[in-house]
Symmetry: C2
Subunit: 428 residues, 2 copies
Amino acid sequence: MTAPFRIAIAGLGTVGIGLVRILQTHPEMIAARAGRPVEIAAVSARSKDKDRGADLSAYAWEDDPVALAKRPDIDLFVEVMGGHEGAAREATEAALKAGHHVVTANKALLAHHGNAIAAAAEEAGVALRFEAAVAGGIPVIKALTEGLAGNEIRRVLGVMNGTCNYILTKMEETGQGYNALFEECARLGYLEADPNLDVGGIDAGHKLSLLAAIAFGTAVDFDAVELEGIQSITLEDIRQAADMGYKIKLLGVAQMTGRGLEQRMSPCLVPDTSPLGQLDGGTNMVVIEGDAVGQIVLRGAGAGAGPTASAVLGDIIDVARGFRLPAFGQPAASLRKVRAARAAVPAPYYLRMALADKPGALAKIAACLGEAGISIDRMRQYGHQEGVAPVLIVTHKTTRSALDEAVAAFSDTGVLEGTPVAIRIENV
Amino acid sequence: MTAPFRIAIAGLGTVGIGLVRILQTHPEMIAARAGRPVEIAAVSARSKDKDRGADLSAYAWEDDPVALAKRPDIDLFVEVMGGHEGAAREATEAALKAGHHVVTANKALLAHHGNAIAAAAEEAGVALRFEAAVAGGIPVIKALTEGLAGNEIRRVLGVMNGTCNYILTKMEETGQGYNALFEECARLGYLEADPNLDVGGIDAGHKLSLLAAIAFGTAVDFDAVELEGIQSITLEDIRQAADMGYKIKLLGVAQMTGRGLEQRMSPCLVPDTSPLGQLDGGTNMVVIEGDAVGQIVLRGAGAGAGPTASAVLGDIIDVARGFRLPAFGQPAASLRKVRAARAAVPAPYYLRMALADKPGALAKIAACLGEAGISIDRMRQYGHQEGVAPVLIVTHKTTRSALDEAVAAFSDTGVLEGTPVAIRIENV
C-alpha cells in the first residue's frame, strides 16, 4: 500500500458531512479501490463549535478556507461550500495555485468561471473534477468524457433540478397550484436561499452549460443559456398537457446546430410514456444521444448528502488512482468558442392564452399565426368566463423566432387578455 | 501530440467493422480526446476476401488472430471474435503475454476464465477492459468501478438480454405465443448460433457474473449463477401478471447476503410502473443500488454495431489516456471467493398450476403451502377445462427453498397436472 492520499474539505454542510461519514464508514473499501488510503487531513467551515453529528476531532481545523486550500500537507482540496464568488472561488484558485488537485460540487462557480479555472488547473498540472456539480449522484460527466468518448454527441437533455420536478409532479398529483407548492418546498428546505436559482431554472442552467461544454468541446458559456423558469406554469397547463399525452418538465437541451450551439433550460411538454415523462418527484435524469451509441438514459438522485458525496468521492478516488483528464475532457485552450443559436431546431409548440369576448377574436389570432408561417395542429376554445375565453393551440413544427413574431403580433389585435404562455413540445 | 496509439482488431463482424467505421469517421475527435491519435495497425478475420463494406486496405492482415495478438507493432489488442474457448481465448492470452493491453467484448470468455485472464493482465502490467461485454453501449462497468467507487454496493439488477426482452414485450403487445416469437427472432437474426444462450438466460448470466464480481469485489463465479430461461413463460402468465400490475422480465439480480453471494438470472414479475417494468423491446437496463447514492438506473442499447463499438472505443481511449485499473476494479488476487447463496432473500412468488377435477384439490395444494410455512396473498381458480382447473396463487414473502419444498409436496397430492410455474416477484 502506497502513501495515504490526503484531502481537505471546505464546507461542512450536508454534503461535506456526508463525505466525512462515508470516509469514516468505509476506509478499507475505499483504500482497496483507490489503491491507497484516503485520509482527511483538515477541514474548515463557518463555525467550529456547531454540532454536526460527526466526530471531526482527528482533523486539523482552519477557520479560513483559503488557508485550508494552501496547506502543504494535502494532496486534494474539496470545495463544498457553494457560491460562485467570494470564499469558494478564492479557495479554489488558491488550492490550484498551491499545486493541489480540486474536486468541487459548485456548478455556479464553474458555470461562471469554469474556463479560467480549468486553465489554471492545467497550468498547475493538477486535476479539477466536478461530477457532483451536475445531476448529483449520477455519474454523467464520467459517462460523457470517458465511457462515451468514442461518440460525436448529438444532443444532451435532462431534468436536472429536483425541486422543480417535485413541484410540477405534485401539481399534477394533488391539484395544488404552483404557489402552494412553492411554499411547501420553502418549508421543507428544498429551495436555495435565493429560490429563483431553482424555480427560475438558473441552477439547472448552470448544470446544462457544463454538460454542453463537455459534450461539444466548447468553452463554457452560461450567459448563452436561454433560461425560463416554471413560475408561470398553471394547473390548467398541466391538465391540458396530460389530456394530450404529455407531461410538463423543466427540461434542459443542448445541441450543436448548423447555426451554433443551442442551450436552453425551459419548461417543455414531453410524451408521458418517455423516460423523461415518467420521471416523478425529485429524481434527475440525463439523456445522452451519440452517433454510435444511440440514446443512453441515466437516472438517479440529483441532490442530498449521500448522492452528492458519492459523486465527490468517485472523483477523489479517480484522482488518487492517478487518472488525469482535462476538466472538460480536452485541454481548456482547445475548447471552441462558438456562436449561440437561439432555439434553432423547429418544434411544435403549445400555446395558451385568454381572448376578449369580441367577434372574430379567434380569427385574428389564427391570422397572426398564419402570417408568421405557423400552421395549427389542434385548437380548442372554451366557454367565456367573465368576458374572457381560454384558448389552447398546438402548432405544427415551427421555430421559436416565428412563434415570437406571432405572439408579438397578438398584442396588436386588441383581443388578447394578459400574456400568452408558449411551451415547446419536445418529442424525446 | 504524442506518438499514435496502435491497435489490432481480431474479428471483423458487426462490432469489428463498427469500430473500424468510427475510427475512420472521427480520427481528429478521438485524437483530441485520447490525447494522441488512435490508429488501426492490423486486423484479422476468418476470410480475407469477404466484402465487409469498409476499406481495410491500409491495415496489415493476419489470417491467424494469435499471430495478430503477438505483433510487436501494436499497443492494444481488440478481441471481438466471440466464443469462450479456442481462438478468442488463445489470442487474448497471447496478447497479454506479449505485453499488449486487451479490450474485449467477450462476456462468455470472461465469465469462464475472467479470474485467470485478469491475473495474467496484472502480471503483464497491462490493462484488460471489457465495457462492451455487459449491456452493450451502457457504460455500466465504468459507473460501478469508477463513478460509484465510493459506495458499498447493495444490489445490482438488470435486463441484459435484448432478445428475451423483445420476445416478452412482443408476447404482451401482439398476443403471439413464445414459439412464434422465437421463430421470428431466428428469422431476424436476433438469436445466437446456440439460441439457448439467449432464451436460456446464459448470455445474460455471463454478464451478471461479471457485474457481481465488480460490484462486490468477488472472484467471477459464473457456475454459481442460478439460471432460468424464458422458455416456459406463457401468454397466460403475461396476461395474469399484467392484470395484477406487473410485467415479466428476464431479470438478473446480484446481492451480497448474510449467507453468501446471491446471483440469479430468471424471469421475474416487476411492477409495471417501475423503470424496469417500462423497458420495452430490445433495450437493456441496469439498476445499481449503493449505500450512499441510492438507486442509479442506466438504460441504453444492449447490442448492435454502434453501441458495442462505442463501448469498445471508450475502453481504448481510456487506455490510450493512460488510465490503469485492475480489470475488476481491484487486484485479481484480492477478489474474494465467497459462498453462493441460492435466492436467500425472501420474496413473494407467483404460482401457476393446473389441478385435476377432484374434490378437495385446492385444499390439498393450500395445505402443502401452509406446511412449508407459506401464506397466500391472493388465489384464483378458473373454470374446469377438459377436467383440469387452472389455478393462480400469489404468496406472501417466502424463500425459494420453502417454495421448492411446497412444490415438491404438490406432486404427492395426486391432484396436480403437469409442472407448476413459479415466478419470483421483485418489487424494484
